[in-house]
Assembly symmetry: C2
Homo-oligomer: 457 residues x 2
């Protein structure tokens, strides 16, 4: 790393962290209407920071939902343009009683910062904003053109981003999409992803008797809605962990032998068991842990509820039961088709005495890109420089639906260069982010911007 | 019915209903600590009403939980003594949004009173208190000795009643136990019960990974706690509605042919489907609806929850899942043995990757009495006089654990003469009570007190 830039990063580190904490302290929970003003506040904070950092044309741009923040630097003539994407909204914080610290009063302990959004994705959005500021301070100019597009609805399915992109095709035109919303393999092992799982989500509601019933009076003579739900959900997997929905795997390509070996090599089951505090792992028979996450589709229950939840017992037969389901999809599964197959399965396996209501919700296409793309090469070089080790060409178990949006609408090659760790509890209590990866990530991002024009020449 | 008593009932009806509404308006939810003062208030209201009605030795007697109200009339020399039992506590009101009226602002519409406790059991407790007041007003004396024991913990398992009875064996000594906490067959068909199902309840908690996980990062590679719960709970019944726990039916006697016919005759499946708004009923194969409720044991899920319950979707793999289970038991099943069998089954069927915690909670022995008991005869006569039709000798699907307590500790023959209807939504939103059964029930209770000494001579 260039000494001058390194000095700036060192000198300003405390100031950067203070700024990051300020940003993280705003509870920008996009799904919760009571945090509407906080979403606005977070957008404003980011816009102000980008302006101070030397970016131009900074705008808070309205959508039908939460606003998008746009900024750019367009003075690098004949150089590639990088569109930087991230999101300033965060997940809800429930169950709040499981947090050891206030999710919106970030604290740093042992070089780890704790708080909602530290890892997913405000911490990393902050890094994208800072990389430009640092280079401008050192050089007075950037080696590439930059555009920023930070949305506020990623955690609620990016409902208005498609529409936003459609209406601003010229404004967002670029060569490469840089996304810092993915994870590394481990603390010292960076990765650059070339594939993402897609998603298909639905809510399933069963209605039994018109109201809750006393189990002494009716118990045994009427379908218990929870029993029906268990029977129905129990029909979705077999004993080997396979999804039993007819046609679910039809579009899934067999795992290439090479990838099977890579995945097996990367799987560290003992470490994962220890990390999660479980006595054994569980998944689809015939696949290693990493293959199960990177290359195989899943159907997961994310929530299930019905009947009495209070202390003690209540002898009711519940009237309704609800399940929240999401599938992770791999190329070339089609979320709409999978959704239809699930609904068909649910209808066909519906137990007697209950009514079914299954509603499709979030969905995202799975994605992959050619592994010899020059931008991937630049990312590799940058990560190697910052981490002093070769980056792994990885896939991601998660979904970044916007990658498909930007690819399909603007032809952008996505570089998924994230600095989070899978163990950092994003979407869960006690989310955190390792500041060592803040430091190395800043180096990597900056190195990427310097190397990219060389690779793309 | 005696003309003088009938006149008093007519003349005072509006005043009685006003008093009942006053009593019902006190939110005496025993399970909720925030209603502690209301429990006290309801106890005091009842004690005052019994005193005004002419009962003696009225006391609010402390227990380790909510108090018991005692009162008596002991001037009927050489006559039998009837111990009247009821409970002044009520069920919680959730889900509150399903109520059409305020559960604690009772309203009367079309001769039906709506509110929590109208049917179970404050409305009927009120009737027990009033029957003595009416006879005393008419005759200045009662045909039997009466004792009242109204507890405040029936809805939370009568935790301290056993202890209370143990400490007051002399005070509570009697010949017959009169309980108005059961139901009639239908609007015009009264019943007197000679058997009750018992209960065995437990809470089952599964713990998977130590915190909620992101389904994109871990999905497919770790046991989903909800999937494990579904597999485990799915193992409790077979496709024919039988409970599959080893030994569950070992103590259950085969249904006598006579009872099988009675139950089949009383089963009105079409009416029940309409009442509950379900397209089909469901239960153990080989038994009619009434047999399933009266004579067969059940295992029911009363509550189930884990993971995300908010609006939309959240891509988590939940860390924990909880199920609330109660069994209804028939003679000669032993609740402790059944509880142990369930726990054994759960341990043996536990899926990989989760930890089990199963805790036994409420339990009550099933009960039955000889059908030629003279007090049953008196109850029959009284019901026939009040309803102008023969009462059915019935069993109850529900449990009144205190019946076993009073039988075992005091040798009391229980008369379960209730005036509720199964359709009156006790333990559910919009609980109500038909005032026609208030009127006929008052007649029946009073007739019972007059006939009992004749039958027991």
């Amino acid at each position: 790393m260039d000494q001058q830039i390194d000095d700036i990063l060192q000198k300003n580190r405390n100031r950067y962290l203070k700024q990051m904490i300020e940003f993280l302290s705003i509870p920008s929970i996009s799904s919760d209407p009571t945090h509407h003003a906080d979403m606005r506040k977070a957008a404003q904070w980011l816009a102000t920071d980008l302006t101070k950092g030397g970016l131009e044309h900074v705008q808070i741009m309205e959508t039908a939902g939460h606003p998008v923040i746009y900024a750019d630097y367009l003075k690098a003539q004949d150089k590639p343009t990088v569109l930087c994407y991230g999101h300033y909204d965060v997940q809800p914080v429930d169950p709040i009683d499981k947090w050891n610290t206030d999710p919106f009063k970030p604290v740093i302990k042992d070089n780890i910062i704790y708080g909602r959004g530290t890892s997913d994705d405000k911490g990393q959005v902050f890094m994208l904003a800072k990389m430009a500021e640092v280079i401008l301070e050192a050089r007075g100019e950037l080696p590439v053109n930059l555009k920023f597009c930070f949305e506020g609805e990623e955690e609620i399915g990016s409902a208005h981003l498609d529409d936003f992109v459609d209406h601003h095709l010229d404004l967002l035109k670029a060569d490469v999409l840089l996304v810092s919303d993915t994870t590394m393999i481990s603390m010292d092992q960076p990765a650059v992803s070339y594939a993402l799982r897609g998603i298909c989500g639905l809510e399933v509601r069963l209605q039994g008797p018109k109201s809750d019933l006393h189990s002494g009076v009716y118990g045994g003579a009427v379908q218990n809605t929870l029993h029906a739900m268990i029977e129905l959900l129990g029909s979705l997997h077999d004993k080997k962990g396979h999804v039993t929905i007819d046609g679910f795997y039809d579009q899934v390509k067999p795992l290439p032998e090479e990838e099977r070996i890579t995945c097996a090599t990367l799987s560290d089951d003992e470490a994962l068991k220890k990390e999660l505090d479980v006595s054994s792992l569980y998944g689809e028979e015939g696949y290693s842990t990493v293959a199960r996450i990177w290359s195989r589709p899943t159907l997961e229950l994310n929530g299930l509820f019905g009947g009495f939840q209070g202390e003690g017992l209540k002898t009711v037969i519940p009237s309704t039961a609800t399940a929240k389901i999401t599938c992770r999809l791999v190329p070339d599964q089609d979320p709409a088709l999978i959704g239809a197959l699930i609904k068909k399965h649910l209808r066909e396996h519906l137990p007697a005495g209950v009514k079914l209501n299954a509603e499709l919700m979030d969905h995202a296409e799975p994605f992959s890109m050619p592994i010899d793309h020059p931008a991937l090469k630049a990312a590799h070089n940058a990560l190697e420089e910052a981490f002093h080790t070769k980056a792994i060409l990885s896939q991601q178990g998660g979904s970044v639906p916007i990658v498909t949006t930007f690819h399909d609408k603007l032809g952008l090659a996505p570089i998924l260069m994230g600095f989070g760790l899978d163990s950092e509890n994003f979407h869960a209590p006690n989310e955190h982010f390792h500041l060592q990866n803040f430091d190395r990530g800043m180096c990597a991002l900056i190195a990427f911007l310097f190397d990219l024009p060389k690779q793309m020449n």
